[in-house]
């Protein structure tokens, strides 16, 4: 069996904290139901290609991406679990390369993120109105979800190599999540953002993820989309590369 697959099975069997996973679904669910319905009193459904999309459905795409983000952040915390229990060193003296170790963490987190996305999607099914599935949309949806999970997971791992304590890691991740979340198109489209914020919107990978997912789900086209897809893939690749580089020299 491939070494990366072996490490992923280990993660899923031994490292991933099932209780934590459940808790991490809480926020996206909250967004989906509480915020969605509260705001839908204020925000009118809008029209895309003649179809009416209610605000809760619009937010649902954000909730799916959020669940991926929370799942993916697990990757960084998995590295911490391994470090705290010294399994990190133990695995690094085993039949693996450091690159394989990181890749396994990123894929484990991608899987967890995808699992979250599937759950949120199923829960959101009743409110996902105005969905318009074409021949290409499954590819767009799956591609977006996987790429986002990959990018977020890599990012969490990069952060985990910069900080020396688990508490700092958690605090830092919370801060970054907060910034990414609000300065993204989860709540409203990027074009409508105030001009100062728009810049942050446009470098924020969450924006690309959410926009691409909305395109996949509702056919919401903006002229940014091709660039966003390109940026998402490039940023993911770059961040993964940084993760690998950081990991090569990480102190034991």
């Amino acid at each position: 069996m491939n070494p990366v697959i072996r490490l992923i099975i280990r993660d899923l069997r031994a490292t991933v904290d099932k209780a934590l996973l459940t808790v991490q679904l809480a926020f996206p669910l909250l967004l989906l139901f509480v915020s969605g319905f509260a705001y839908s009193k204020l925000i009118q459904p809008f029209e895309v290609q003649g179809r009416l999309i209610p605000y809760p459905a619009f937010l649902a795409a954000g909730a799916i991406i959020l669940s991926i983000m929370f799942g993916s952040i697990l990757a960084g915390s998995l590295v911490w679990v391994d470090r705290r229990l010294n399994m990190f060193q133990q695995i690094l003296v085993g039949p693996f390369t450091r690159g394989q170790y990181i890749l396994s963490k990123v894929i484990s987190s991608t899987l967890v993120g995808l699992g979250g996305a599937v759950i949120i999607s199923i829960v959101a099914l009743p409110i996902l109105r105005g969905v318009h599935i074409t021949l290409t949309s499954p590819f767009i949806i799956i591609g977006t979800v996987c790429l986002s999970a990959f990018l977020m997971g890599s990012m969490a791992i990069v952060i985990s190599t910069f900080v020396t304590s688990e508490q700092v890691f958690n605090a830092l991740v919370n801060l970054i999540v907060f910034i990414l979340m609000f300065a993204s198109s989860i709540y409203y489209p990027a074009q409508d953002a105030p001009s100062i914020l728009r810049f942050i919107f446009l470098i924020n990978p969450l924006t690309y993820s959410v926009d691409l997912l909305r395109f996949g789900l509702f056919g919401m086209w903006t002229s940014y989309l091709p660039y966003e897809a390109l940026l998402l893939a490039t940023e993911g690749g770059i961040i993964f590369f940084i993760a690998v580089m950081r990991f090569r020299n990480i102190s034991i």
Binding site: R13, T15, L85, Q89
Partner: protein, 316 residues
């Protein structure tokens, strides 16, 4: 080429030199002991040999592969029990062994078999379903050592493997290692417990402040650095007075009488052969036959204290 071949190895953490120009080799099927006080550089050396750290200077070959370049090949063929406790948080003993076997790509059937053997060998059967974090420290250590035998290897590194183990399990662990070594496994072993090194190691290197201060068979080390040895003589208590009177005439002997055991004389000497000769002559002159005359082995502890203490005093 020897399984481990190290020349002029140097490693420092920032400014602190942890391993200072060390050279040694470990032969196939040998149990090689690395002995030294806290902070001597034992674990650092193991971390270099197991590819966790890259040497700053010097040549290191493990199983014929050059480090750090060919670390990947080395890691496939070694077993490592690190000094720090390491375990899977959420697993019980059985699953922990199983997951470890899995990451080493051991087929499921073989894992089942190995788990049963190891649980018996390390006396863990009754803890099979206990979560690791509910085990005592010594138990955790047992699991960690047992776990390493889930896979085959050519070279095994053990960094203070028996810490926290009770006497029986410690002995059994050492015997397991000895047996594997007799079948061709090469073992690199560190410990603070000198009798343990004496019991299991074919050769011992004593390391202090990052430098190897002695390296030899444990028997030779004792002869070389054991220092003063003791000749133990038993005579009939009725003859004791005559023998003592005669011996005390000789300035070259430092004679001690054991007050607890009647008829026991102890002579400290740094020239045991010469002393033997003098004693024999004395008995012949008196026409008395001793009950026994024997030379006491110095302990490895004496060797260790001699080597390390002297050095530390010189350095300070």
């Amino acid at each position: 080429m020897n399984p481990i071949q190290v020349s002029d190895l140097l490693f420092s953490y920032g400014d602190r030199v942890a391993v200072n120009n060390v050279s040694f080799e470990v032969k196939k099927g040998e149990v090689f002991g690395f002995l030294g006080p806290n902070g001597a550089g034992k674990s650092t050396t193991i971390k270099i040999l197991t590819t966790l750290l890259a040497p700053k200077h010097g040549e290191v070959y493990v199983l014929g592969y050059k480090l750090p370049e060919e670390g990947k090949e080395v890691r496939k063929r070694i077993g490592v029990v690190l000094q720090e406790a390491s375990y899977e948080y959420s697993l019980n003993v059985e699953d922990s062994l199983d997951v470890y076997g899995l990451i080493w790509d051991i087929p499921r059937k073989e894992r089942r078999k190995k788990i049963n053997t190891l649980l018996a060998e390390f006396d863990l059967e009754e803890y099979r379903h206990t979560h690791i974090h509910d085990l005592s420290i010594g138990m955790k250590r047992r699991v960690q050592v047992a776990r390493e035998f889930m896979h085959d290897m050519d070279l095994l590194f053990l960094d203070e493997p028996t810490v926290g183990m009770d006497v029986i399990v410690r002995r059994r662990t050492l015997d397991t290692i000895k047996e594997l070594a007799s079948k061709g496994l090469t073992v690199f072993f560190t410990t603070h417990i000198l009798e343990e090194a004496d019991y299991i190691c074919d050769r011992i290197a004593v390391i202090n402040k990052g430098k190897i201060v002695a390296i030899d068979r444990s028997k030779n080390l004792k002869e070389l650095f054991g220092g003063i040895r003791t000749v133990d003589i038993r005579v009939d208590p009725d003859d004791l007075g005559f023998v003592l009177a005669e011996m005390r005439k000789l300035d070259s002997l430092s004679v001690n009488v054991d007050g607890d055991i009647p008829g026991r004389i102890q002579i400290a000497t740094d020239k045991p052969l010469k002393t033997f000769q003098i004693i024999t002559q004395t008995f012949e002159a008196l026409n008395i036959k001793p009950i026994s005359v024997s030379l006491e082995e110095p302990s490895l502890e004496q060797v260790f204290m001699n080597l390390v203490d002297k050095e530390n005093r010189v350095v300070r």
